[in-house]
Amino acid sequence: MVAGAAALLLYCVVCTRLMLTGKFRAAPVTIGALLMWLGASFGAWTLFLR
């Protein structure tokens, strides 16, 4: 859950930055960034928890 929360922080920061530009709609940014969350959380899990 700690690794997931760290990935969630990254997800939120990326969504904030992309949405602040005003160039993108919410759905593609927030749904597309889920892939990044999956990559970051499983990456952290592989590195520290496996």
């Binding site: 859950m1 700690v2 690794a3 997931g4 929360a5 760290a6 990935a7 969630l8 922080l9 997800y11 939120c12 920061v13 969504c15 904030t16 930055r17 949405m19 602040l20 005003g22 993108f24 709609r25 919410a26 759905a27 940014v29 927030t30 749904i31 960034a33 889920l34 969350w37 959380s41 499983f42 899990w45 928890l49």
Partner: protein, 153 residues
């Protein structure tokens, strides 16, 4: 901007929109349990921090802000996108609190009861989230949120 409760905001959201959020949140909770049984608790734990309801909430926030502007006769606006950005910034602070919650449960649960551990973890979540909010306010100032949302309308 201070922290306050406005119950009237609850009436602005349709029941179907609440249902959508509960549906996504519930589905991911079930997925976390299934994954924990299949691959172990550490994999299941990852999904307890999955942003399940954020995409649905963000899309609805954007739609509501656009509808508000359309009622005022403004068709093209980025206010909805910036409102979503601020929501995501708040969620980032919440994710720090979530990490504190998880750390407390991880460290305390093997030696203490569930009630004591969860109470301490909730207190940690609240303390870290509010500290993050106040640090952000001190760093960026009081009026940043309002300025950011209104300056590019």
């Amino acid at each position: 901007m201070g922290i306050s409760f406005h119950l009237s905001v609850l009436r602005k959201t349709k029941w179907s929109e609440y249902a959508l959020r509960f549906l996504f949140g519930g589905a991911v909770s079930v997925l976390a349990v299934v994954l924990a049984k299949q691959f172990g608790p550490s994999v299941g734990g990852l999904f307890l921090a999955f942003p399940a309801i954020f995409p649905a909430s963000a899309t609805l926030i954007e739609k509501h802000e656009q509808q508000k502007k359309a009622r005022a006769g403004i068709q093209v606006t980025i206010r909805g996108r910036q409102a979503v950005a601020l929501d995501a910034a708040g969620a980032a602070l919440g994710s720090l609190g979530l990490a504190a919650f998880a750390l407390v449960v991880w460290r305390l649960l093997p030696e203490h009861g569930a009630g004591t551990t969860l109470s301490a973890a909730l207190a940690a979540w609240l303390a870290v989230s509010l500290a993050g909010w106040n640090i952000r306010k001190l760093t960026y100032g009081e009026g940043l949120n309002r300025k950011r949302v209104s300056s590019r309308d």
